[in-house]
Symmetry: C2
Subunit: 187 residues, 2 copies
């Protein structure tokens, strides 16, 4: 039952947006009474936290499916995968970083996001190990570089989903902007 609620919540999320994921809506979609979910979750925040945790897990799966190659190739593929994940699953991506909908103290969610970051930081570190003549100062911690690069990708996805970049007389594609970002960090 718990799993069924999580599944229906995830389904509702992906095809109706993050605002549509309501406890009563999930209950109705699962064919139970409106109070039933509260027997398995302390509240909406906990249920959504589990869903968001699944999102981070899916993201990590994408990371584990990176093709073999040089560290540089794997890193750039990971960057593309991150942005692609965000643009492909906008509702899930939004939920994953909505602190008001998820419970920040949920240990599963915190560790899942932490694992994703560590994985990405490892990719960055391995790349910097090979390319010592990096333009980025050699002394800085790889995890700091990873945080900066991750933030760049994250902001790109977020701004793109926001839609504000497509305004006025300027409509870049996310790929072209991503290319500039990767060029700045790795070019």
């Amino acid at each position: 039952m718990r799993q069924r609620l999580i599944s229906t919540a995830t389904a509702l999320l992906t095809d109706a947006g993050v605002e549509a994921v309501t406890l009563r809506g999930i209950a109705k979609a699962a064919g139970v009474s409106h109070g039933a979910p509260l027997r398995h979750f302390t509240g909406r925040a906990e249920l959504l936290s589990v869903v968001a945790t699944r999102g981070f897990t899916q993201l990590l799966e994408r990371g584990s499916q990176l093709p073999d190659g040089t560290p540089r190739e794997r890193l750039t593929a990971a960057c593309h995968a991150y942005v692609d994940f965000a643009l492909s699953n906008p509702a899930m991506f939004e939920l994953m970083f909505r602190r008001d909908l998820t419970d920040p103290d949920e240990p599963g969610l915190a560790s899942a996001s932490s694992i994703v970051f560590d994985f990405f930081a490892t990719l960055v570190h391995e790349d910097r190990e090979v390319a010592k003549d990096e333009r980025l100062r050699e002394g800085t911690d790889s995890r700091l570089v990873a945080a900066s690069l991750w933030a760049a990708l994250h902001g790109l996805a977020q701004l793109w989903l926001w839609g504000g970049l497509a305004g006025a007389s300027f409509a870049p594609s996310p790929e072209s902007a991503l290319a500039v970002t990767l060029d700045a960090y790795l070019g």
Copy 2:
């Protein structure tokens, strides 16, 4: 009256968070009945859009107060100002990019954000005019570079406010991460 509602909404936003900005709460704080705001705004989205527009205006004001100096100095100062604005006004920053709370079709909001972007793109362009030996490929449109850099700053602020970067055994300061970002783009 309209202005009073906007002011109380802004005040409520900055010191109670974005979730606390409710139509009824604004009305109560302004000392009017719960339905009064609907006489001046078509709904919550329009009121919040006006507040968000003020946010973009404030951001632009910060930009106009940049100290004189080389284009490079002005650009880096603008980058610092952007992140500083976000971290100083987290609720306003969140509202400005919450498409579900604001009305994307509001012309004032769209133009305000567009003006901010254009201003930033101008800074980037002027810097690239001077430093022709830029590491970033010379052929690419300055606005594309501006979008990429803006996204990097935006993601940095967003991830920082999210708080996920402070997890595990790694707690960088936003300044250090920003330094890495600026080093990647301008270093």
